[in-house]
């Protein structure tokens, strides 16, 4: 692996606290250009906290976070969007009082190129035709699956270089999960690097190149996703198979 692609995101020994709660305990991880990397772990392991620290919603107490080679610790979330660091948050974060189209256009808030925005809007509708049918409907009236489609399409409107996805499969029927992950694969093939947080380890390991396993705020182990699918520790704890 001497000609491995450049590192896009690099966390070194990151510690995050909520008051007295030590939520991330020295987390280090790396995402290289073009990869899909997944972060799996149980409820409360610190997955969302990790993403929040990366995208500027939380400031780590110590440690280093580098994106494209530059430190982004302390940068406000809205300034990172224009640099291609885009998050589709847990729970989808759809604005219920805004229409589907308004939600999508808000995703392009940091952009000024009108023709490009129009093109990407159309692309979003091509990827998820259901959104096109519902473009003037209020976001709050969409089903859970449609909201997740909207969340992903909206994140794409920002032209991400690195896309952070927080539990896109949460609460969705298996068929919809398939649709969503087929899209994740397609987005990655177009060159977008993805950091995927999931509780559904089964799906996550199938649709990623590498994986990190997080427990109680610490990375327990990591490796190639294909290998981890057969790892007895993962099988026992995250794939629901006895050892």
């Amino acid at each position: 692996m001497s000609d491995a692609p450049a590192t896009l995101l690099d966390l070194k020994d990151v510690n995050v606290f909520y008051g007295a709660i030590h939520a991330l305990r020295g987390v280090s991880l790396e995402v290289r250009q073009g990869e899909v990397v997944t972060l799996i772990g149980a409820n409360g392991a610190g997955k969302t906290t990790t993403l929040a620290a990366i995208c500027g919603l939380l400031k780590p107490r110590s440690g280093e976070i580098r994106y494209g080679g530059e430190s982004i610790v302390g940068a406000a979330a809205h300034t990172l969007v224009g640099r291609g660091l885009v998050m589709a948050p847990e729970g989808r974060g759809i604005f219920p009082a805004l229409t589907v189209q308004e939600n999508l256009l808000l995703g392009a808030y940091s952009r000024r190129d009108k023709p490009g925005i129009a093109r990407d809007l159309q692309r979003g509708f091509d990827i998820f035709p259901r959104l096109a049918e519902r473009r003037s409907q209020k976001g709050g009236t969409l089903s859970g699956g449609e909201q997740q489609m909207l969340a992903i399409a909206r994140a794409l409107m920002a032209q991400p270089r690195l896309l952070l996805l927080d539990e896109p499969s949460l609460g969705l029927a298996p068929l919809v999960v398939q649709t969503i992950f087929a899209t994740v694969d397609a987005i990655n093939r177009e060159g977008v690097t993805i950091l995927l947080v999931e509780q559904n380890a089964h799906v996550a390991l199938k649709h990623s190149h590498r994986a990190y396993v997080l427990e109680s705020g610490q990375i327990q182990f990591s490796g190639a996703s294909a290998a981890l699918r057969n790892d007895p520790r993962v099988k026992a704890a995250y794939l629901g198979e006895g050892t």
Binding site: G56, L57, H78, F95, L98, L106, R154
Partner: protein
Amino acid sequence: MLPLLETSDLATRLLQQCANGVAKGSVYALVAVGYTRVYGVLQLINFAHSDVYMLGAYFSYYPAKWLGYMPEGAEKPKVPFYVLGLAFLFAVSACAATGMLIERLAYRPLRNASRLSALITAIGVSILLQNVGQMVFGADPKSFPRYMDQESVALGPIAVADTSLVIIVVAAAMVGALHLFVQRTRTGAAMRACSHDMRTAGLMGVNVNATVSLTFALGSAMAAVGGMLIAMDQPRLTPTMGLLAGLKAFVAAVLGGIGSIPGAALGGLLLGVAESMVGAWNTTYADAVAFVVLVVVLLVKPSGILGKSGREKV
């Protein structure tokens, strides 16, 4: 406020009171939109908003008085319209700046504190502004110079003061423009997004602090226009003039449905008309109408007429 036409016809009198009420209510609406937008974004009743309205009255009064000086003995001296325009611009920009400053200094440090702390701070800012007003402007009532003939315009069977017509037209234009801005523009969409969920709005690339600032600037500008219109119509400016007007505008915002601009407009108009009706029957009860309305709304439909229940912040 206005002389009634000599008529015994009840319908005409009611219509006349309606017209008076609409003028009154237009000013409530102008002030109410500020309460409603700020509450929508920060879940904060910005008590200082009523004092920004008071400042708007003074900030338009002084330029009009100084620039609009008329030579002695001029017949029916009036402030020329360009002076009114300058007074308007000054009041609007000075109040917008004041509103932004209040947010920056008093509310932003409490953005993540309990809403009660912010509320108490808002009351403190309000008292501070009133006292500064007493010091700077003096407690003696001031009166805005004449700018119109103050004649009645006959509209069918009723008569409406020309100054009231100005109030209605200006207020409708301002509130309408604000509504279009919030509903139709990119920045307006960002404001609506912030009022649902600031964190997620930030993830869209929206500069939340700038958006909150803008919310205060716009709301304060509207209050300034309300203050100026009242100053031009009712010749008594005092540093505490915001107290009652602000309270009524707040009731108008709750009545219409807090968070909603059309709601604030509707609430303002309804309250103004109700007050005028009651006032025609017994003037001492007119001021009580707002409080009765507040209690009834909170009991019957706390989300207001146009408000959506369950649109609380997540």
